[in-house]
Each structure stands twice: as structure tokens, then as C-alpha cells.
Amino acid sequence: MTSFPHADRLPAAEPVVDLIEELGKLPGIGPKTAQRLTYHLVRMPASEARALAEAIVAVKELVGFCSACWNVTDRDPCAICASPNRDRSLVCVVEDPLDVMAVERTQAYRGLYHVLHGVISPINGVGPDELRIKELLERLGSDSNSTALADAVRELILATNPTLEGEATAIYLQRLVAPLGVRVTRLARGLATGGELEYADDLTLTRAFEGRQEFT
């Protein structure tokens, strides 16, 4: 907690100033937003404020990473990896735990995941060693060597974002995984639902044409 030698010169009560300072450290929270949030919390019922504080503490104390897929979880292995109802022949590689949430919301995918926790970004100094790529190869190696055929990974779905870095990461992973005999696929890219052709950029349109499929 910050200590102020001249508390009588503070713009507000010391706990308020402390909270504004702490909230301001969060990404995307500037000084004004931190002030608004702080005064909202001041007016909030004490029980709700206490619940928020306890939830924050719980996240730090109880949440870690799944040792299989590196998703954020409160148990190891995570609920998805531990579930007997998941298709263990499919592994979907994503950049971020938020991507797992996005895919799970669709309820269209029933396989497993692997979270890289980032993407190859040479200009930001992020290379393969900074991501969970080694762990992915170990997982594929151990899975493909498994004597239980049902546990073998047969398809790796590369679901990194369709950005320059996401594509570079996908190409890099494809090169590493192809010799292991695992089928490597990439999520379809092209026009977003609700988008308009005239506003699509060249790259998006090109990929949409390349990925066209039989329309029945």
C-alpha cells in the first residue's frame, strides 16, 4: 500500500487513492477509468465488493495451467482434457485461453486443445522458445506412440489468428509436425459473416477464393 507523508494534501482518502493506483495498472484502464471504477466500488454494497476481492484472490491462488493443454484451469488436467466425452484424436492449437472459450461457445468442436500462449512475432522478440511449442511436440510424440489407438492424435487443427504472425506460427508448426505423420489442417479463412464483398481487402478475398467449397 502506498504511504503518503502529506496525507492532508491528497485529493481523496488514502484507500481510494491506493485503489485508483492499483486499478490503473491493469491493461486498458487509464486514470479516468480507474477513478470511475473506484468510486463505483465505493458506492457498491460491501458484500459485492468483498465477493469481487475474493474472486481476484481465488484466481491467483487456485488457477494454474493444465499440464496437458496449457489452458487456464483450477484442476490438472483441466475439465476438457479429463473429459471422457472429448474426441482425443483431434487437437486444436490456439494462441490464447480466450480462444478456447470462443471455440467452446460454438459447441461445434469436441476435440482437445493446445494453448501456445502467444504467437511467433520476430519484431517483438517472441520466437518458438517463448511459446508452448516444445510441449506440443512432446504431446504429439507421446500421443502418437501410444499403444492405445483411440488415444492417438490423428489431426492437428491450426487455429491461430489469420494475422501475419498467426500465419507464420501456423506454417512453422506445420513444418515441425508434418514428419510425425499427423494430419495438419488450418481453419478456413475468408469473408466474415455479415461482411460485404466490396469492403473486403485483397488478401481476404484471395483466401476466400482459394478456400471455396462445393455449394449444395
Partner: protein, 264 residues
């Protein structure tokens, strides 16, 4: 004179970083305003109309609106997407090295159209499948166009014409040094810079650097650069750039990783 409300410019996106919930800050190298940063609002959303045209290494025509802290991208149209480059890991790695160097050597809001032209030319060659030779040519030309052209004809300490095979290179002094001066402890060098390490420079290395000066890449690409010579040039130019920038660039590490793992 007040800043106009809207500005049109052609630019290459050097890099981008996320801010807020759905925005990005772009670092742009423009033809008219040099390097500048701009905010692209909402481009991280799936339905953003601008996202595809504002990816790194896209050459686009932008309309920038005057913003509070920095300009805001109000409209964009792709000029060149270098699509083949993006399907090659090595080409992408090399292109990002060039983008990072252009960023490092370009001061903010000081127009230098020749650097943008050089970077665009390099991306065209990477898009066409050219390799490391473009990188070396780019590094040399960038130094030249940024005012750091190395001295290649005369010793930087005694100013005598360089004798073939009797020379080294001093990053600190910015050019070739005759071996006589190296042996004599570099008399005449500015205080503090005479003690900086000098690098070996072969006759062929010097010839290639001289050829880079005043020739287009179309002419340079016919040069045969055997691996030892290629490594010498990479080391020498890299050391000079490191001395000037006083920090190691980040992008080359990925290309080195690709070479090390044999995936390059």
C-alpha cells in the same frame, strides 16, 4: 499553420500493437510524413473492414484524421499486399528484419521517401523469392540513405587510398581502416573511438560493398556470394548497425532459429 483535419498518405505498416478492447496502434512509414504512429479503432473485431489492409507489411493508402494524442485511421485502401511473401516463413522473417531496421533508422515525422522506396523494393524481391542477398543490400542502402554511408575508398584515420588486402573495417569510425593505422593504434581517430574493435574485411567483401553503392538490386543479384563471403558481410554490416543503434535488433533471432533447426 493548423494541422489539416484529414491527411491522405501512402504508407507501409511496420508493426502494430493492441490497445484497449479492439484497437491497435500502428507504426507506419509514410511517403510524406516519415514514420508516424496512428490508432486504428475497432480493427481487432471480426467484421472490421480495415483489418486486412492494416496488417504488418501491407502497403496501403490511408486517410488519417487528426486525433487527440495521435492520428486516427479513417479509411484505408490496399495498394500492395505482398501475398506470396506471407506464405513463406523465411521471406516473412527477412521482411520483418527489414521493417525493424527501417523503424530503427527512421526518426518520427521526418520524411525520407527513399527509405520507404527501398523497403518496398526489398519486399518486392522477397515476394519474388529472393533471399539473404536482398537483406545485405537493404542494410547497406539503408545506412547510405540514412546518412551513415560507410567510407570505402580511403582509410578513415589517415585518409590514404585503401590498398587491396591491407584493410580492416571499424564500425566506430564508420569505414575502412588501413592495416598500418590498425597496427599503429589508429592515430588521428577521435578520442575514445580508436580503441573500438575493428573487423576483418576481405578484398571480395570490400568489392561487394563498393558494388552495393551506386547499383540497383537488379544489378547486384547477379553477384555470386559464397557462404564465407555472405557470412562476412552479415557480420560486418550487423556490427556496424549494432554500433549505430546501440541495441540488438529482435527480428533476426527468428531467422537464425529457422537456420539452426534446419526448417529454413
Amino acid at each position: 499553420m493548423s494541422t489539416p483535419r484529414f491527411t491522405n498518405t501512402e504508407c507501409l505498416v511496420l508493426k502494430q500493437s493492441p490497445i484497449g478492447e479492439a484497437d491497435r496502434v500502428l507504426t507506419l512509414l509514410t511517403d510524406t510524413h516519415g514514420k508516424l504512429r496512428a490508432v486504428a479503432r475497432g480493427i481487432r473485431r471480426p467484421k472490421s473492414r480495415m483489418a486486412g489492409s492494416l496488417e504488418p507489411l501491407m502497403y496501403s493508402r490511408l486517410m488519417l484524421a487528426r486525433g487527440r494524442a495521435m492520428p486516427v485511421v479513417a479509411g484505408v485502401e490496399t495498394i500492395r499486399s505482398f501475398s506470396k511473401l506471407r506464405t513463406s516463413l523465411e521471406a516473412t522473417a527477412r521482411a520483418l528484419i527489414c521493417a525493424e531496421l527501417a523503424d530503427a533508422f527512421s526518426p518520427e515525422e521526418q520524411a525520407n521517401p527513399s527509405v520507404l522506396a527501398l523497403l518496398l523494393e526489398a519486399l518486392e524481391w522477397f515476394d519474388a523469392g529472393e533471399g539473404d542477398r536482398v537483406l545485405r543490400y537493404f542494410e547497406f542502402q539503408l545506412l547510405q540513405r540514412s546518412g551513415y554511408m560507410p567510407e570505402l575508398q580511403h582509410c578513415v584515420t589517415c585518409r590514404t587510398a585503401v590498398v587491396p588486402d591491407q584493410h580492416a573495417f571499424s564500425p566506430a569510425l564508420g569505414g575502412v581502416v588501413c592495416l598500418a593505422c590498425v597496427g599503429a593504434g589508429m592515430p588521428g581517430a577521435p578520442a575514445g573511438r580508436g580503441e573500438a574493435p575493428v573487423l576483418a574485411l576481405s578484398v571480395n567483401g570490400l568489392k561487394v560493398l563498393r558494388y552495393f553503392h551506386g547499383h540497383t538490386y537488379g544489378e547486384v543479384r547477379s553477384l555470386q556470394l559464397k557462404p564465407p563471403l555472405a557470412r562476412e558481410l552479415e557480420s560486418l554490416l550487423g556490427s556496424y548497425i549494432l554500433y549505430l543503434l546501440e541495441r540488438k535488433q529482435k527480428a533476426p533471432a527468428f531467422l537464425e532459429a529457422l537456420r539452426r533447426t534446419g526448417t529454413a
